[in-house]
């Protein structure tokens, strides 16, 4: 499978004028999701960037029903919506949660786990932009190590929670990761998730120019590099087992992804001041640990740790593979 851009929007379900930032993954994701789901869909949206993007009352970005709900309660609200629709004979209506990483990894995890373990017939989609972006870039459990946020001004010390493994432990019929840079893969996964019955989960990488601190124009490029460096691996699981959907051909260091984002910039300076690297910077391969800029020992330690986490995550995934497509 090659990186591609040929997700065909066959029936636009999103109005013009979304209240998203330029280069936002959410607004693109909403178009792709709604194109596959169609208008007979109830979107349940906890507090997250999408609560704003979907429009203030009574506006509705989507040609579909939007139920805004409480931060901790997305999967629980969706449970009620699902059962009520079923009682009214509307089993064919899709119930789709659109949540951020806070509403998935942190405050929403209890309800998510409850709904997954009850095998509720809902699709939960997490747009993972790796921090509380809607409130101004605070750390979440989805924030990767090293990222500088307003609540981790020195950089986050611990890695992101592995929510996919938590999801996997629930033995649900379908779960997958997806990227807005791999559109055919995203489309296929959305269709598969739509078709499956029971609790389904999609984790989509969410480029966020103001939060990740990069130019809006390179959002998709960065999402692609996240997959190429194995920082955000693409995999899925349908009825047990893991299938890796994309094997990066070049062994690119994670630096290629990190150093183009302001959220990691402090790791590449001497520590006195953070500086967002210019956009469009050459992303050519660098040898691991051989940085072009001054990097303090402590920062180098963190960079090594991030590379190690990425490598370990990949190894773990490889170990879980039941179907090989190398």
């Amino acid at each position: 499978m090659k990186p591609d851009t040929d997700f065909i929007i066959t029936g636009e379900q999103v109005s013009k004028g979304a209240l998203s930032c330029r280069g936002c993954g959410w607004s693109l994701l909403a178009r792709y999701v709604s194109n596959v789901m169609g208008p007979e869909t109830v979107y349940v949206v906890p507090a997250c960037c999408f609560s704003i993007i979907a429009g203030p009352s009574p506006m509705n970005l989507m040609n579909g029903t939007v139920v805004h709900t409480l931060f901790a309660a997305a999967a629980a609200t969706a449970t009620g919506v699902r059962h009520a629709l079923d009682r009214q004979g509307k089993q064919e209506t899709n119930v789709v949660v659109l949540a951020g990483d806070g509403g998935t990894f942190d405050i929403g995890l209890q309800a998510l786990s409850g709904a997954a373990s009850r095998e509720e017939n809902i699709l939960f989609i997490c747009n993972n932009n790796g921090a509380y972006m809607n409130t101004g870039v605070q750390s979440s459990a989805g924030t990767p190590s090293g990222v500088r946020t307003t609540t981790d001004p020195s950089g986050k010390a611990t890695p992101a929670k592995n929510v996919m493994e938590i999801i996997e432990a629930h033995n649900i019929p379908y779960f997958a990761t997806a990227s807005p840079a791999f559109l055919r893969d995203l489309q296929r996964k959305l269709e598969k998730a739509k078709e499956a019955r029971g609790f389904r989960f999609l984790m989509v990488d969410g480029p966020c120019p103001p939060g990740h601190k990069h130019e809006p124009a390179i959002s998709i490029e960065l999402a692609r590099i996240a997959v190429e460096t194995r920082f955000f691996p693409l995999f899925e699981s349908a009825n047990g087992g893991i299938e890796i959907n994309y094997f990066p051909q070049k062994n690119l260091p994670v630096d290629d992804y990190l150093k183009r984002q302001g959220r990691f910039a402090h790791l590449y300076s001497d520590g006195s001041e953070s500086r967002a690297p210019a956009s469009g910077q050459d992303s050519g391969a660098h040898a691991n640990g051989n940085q072009t800029r001054e990097t303090s020992g402590k920062n180098q330690e963190m960079l090594n740790a991030i590379q190690m986490q990425v490598d370990q995550q990949w190894e773990k995934l490889m170990g879980k593979q039941t179907v090989s497509k190398v």
Partner: protein, 399 residues
């Protein structure tokens, strides 16, 4: 109980609405579960917490026995319990749950959302306090929710629990307001009483599932619900809620009168017993303490009883009307089974607001907190306080 006496009398006089009942011995919790079934609720969510648990157990048992056509989902927390009700109610189902104490406190955030999305949800709360750990009768949990926008009824008997849930769906659906029906832990929830259970048809005729608004999730007609409201519009939602709240006291009485026509038992926002110009002291009570007070004041000709059944919105007109019948020097004593971390309990606070333009002598008694028994002797101790003495405190702790 006056309601039971009325129905006994009517049953003896032959056919009529009151005769269409079966007499059963039921605990308060069983009466609550039965009421939910009689109201044909279609979606119930559950999470166990003592002493509410037998309500959701009984509902699940009735569904398992196929006596009850409803979906019951066992959720992972009370926050989720109420959030799922919110979702199902938005789609248009008639929904129900029951909780207690910590559970209600945990759901606090969702209670606000439900009330201000104007969802006609009815929920039972079996009242108990929070910390230190205690599972016995207390109103602190539900009193803490008084500003969430829910209507609150406090019940005196298992019969009243059953009847109030039936009336609550009528009130909720005609006003688009959620209703909390509160019963005392153990004194009501786990105490067996005679309960007249109405025929299904009677309940169907009285409160068919009718939503006043068509504003609900309809996949064929996409809309957005609960989105951000900016400062230029926010207060219009509060105002609309307030206007409806202002009608609830009157509506409670109207629904109570209509209920009597169907079921033979009358209910109002308040009940005044022995209140007139001769009354020297009026006890103001809620819930099962009222029953004990009824018996005690029967021997005290100069003592009246004002039972507050509708607590939120506080029935100011009914309370003023009742207390205006007494002489100016009549003492009014609120019995509060709730500790609000303030100088006075919730009932006394509400009475002060209600009577603020008068020079009424208002007193407050903290009694029965954390389930301490309020026995006839406790009531007598409350009445033995010399309220005319200048040395008597406004607030008294009674054991």
């Amino acid at each position: 109980m006056s309601q039971l006496e009325a129905i006994e009398k009517q049953r003896k006089t032959g056919p009529g609405p009151a005769s269409r009942h079966v007499k059963k011995v039921l605990k308060g919790n069983a009466a609550a579960a039965l009421a939910a079934r009689l109201c044909r609720v279609s979606f119930v969510t559950a999470y166990p917490i003592t002493p509410q648990t037998s309500i959701i157990e009984e509902i699940n048992a009735m569904i398992a026995r196929k006596e009850f056509d409803a979906t019951c989902v066992n959720m992972e927390s009370e926050h989720s319990v109420f959030a799922a009700l919110k979702g199902a109610s938005l789609v248009g189902e008639r929904v129900f749950t029951a909780t207690s104490g910590q559970g209600l406190l945990y759901a606090h955030e969702v209670l606000h959302a439900i009330a201000h999305m104007r969802l006609p949800i009815v929920a039972c709360n079996v009242g108990r306090p929070s910390y230190p750990w205690n599972i016995w009768a207390d109103q602190t949990d539900s009193i803490s929710q008084r500003d969430t926008g829910w209507i609150q009824f406090y019940c005196e008997s298992a019969q009243e629990v059953l009847d109030t849930i039936i009336q609550s769906y009528k009130i909720a659906e005609s006003s688009n307001m959620p209703v909390m029906v509160v019963l005392d832990a153990f004194y009501l929830s786990h105490t067996s009483e005679n309960v007249y259970v109405p025929e299904q048809q009677l309940v169907d005729d009285f409160c068919p599932h009718e939503r006043r608004t068509s504003d609900r999730v309809d996949p064929k007609d996409p809309k957005s619900f609960g989105g951000l409201v900016d400062p230029s519009k926010y207060d219009t939602y509060n105002r609309a809620h307030w206007e409806e709240m202002c009608r609830i006291e009157e509506q409670t009485d109207a629904v109570g009168r209509e209920f009597e026509q169907f079921f033979g038992r009358n209910y109002g926002a308040v009940e005044a017993v022995n209140i007139g110009p001769q009354t020297k002291t009026v006890l103001v009570t809620m819930s099962s303490i009222t029953t004990t007070a009824r018996q005690v004041i029967a021997d005290h000709e100069d003592t009246g009883l004002l039972k507050i059944r509708l607590f939120k919105p506080f029935p100011k007109d009914s309370v003023r009307k009742a207390l205006d019948r007494t002489a100016k020097d009549c003492n009014v004593v609120a019995v509060d089974r709730n500790y609000t971390a303030d100088r006075e309990g919730a009932l006394l606070q509400q009475l002060r607001q209600t009577m603020c333009k008068t020079d009424r002598k208002l007193f407050g008694v903290y009694a029965g907190l954390g389930g301490r028994d309020v026995s006839p002797q406790t009531i007598r101790n409350i009445l033995d306080i010399d309220y005319s003495s200048p040395d008597t405190e406004e607030i008294n702790w009674i054991q």
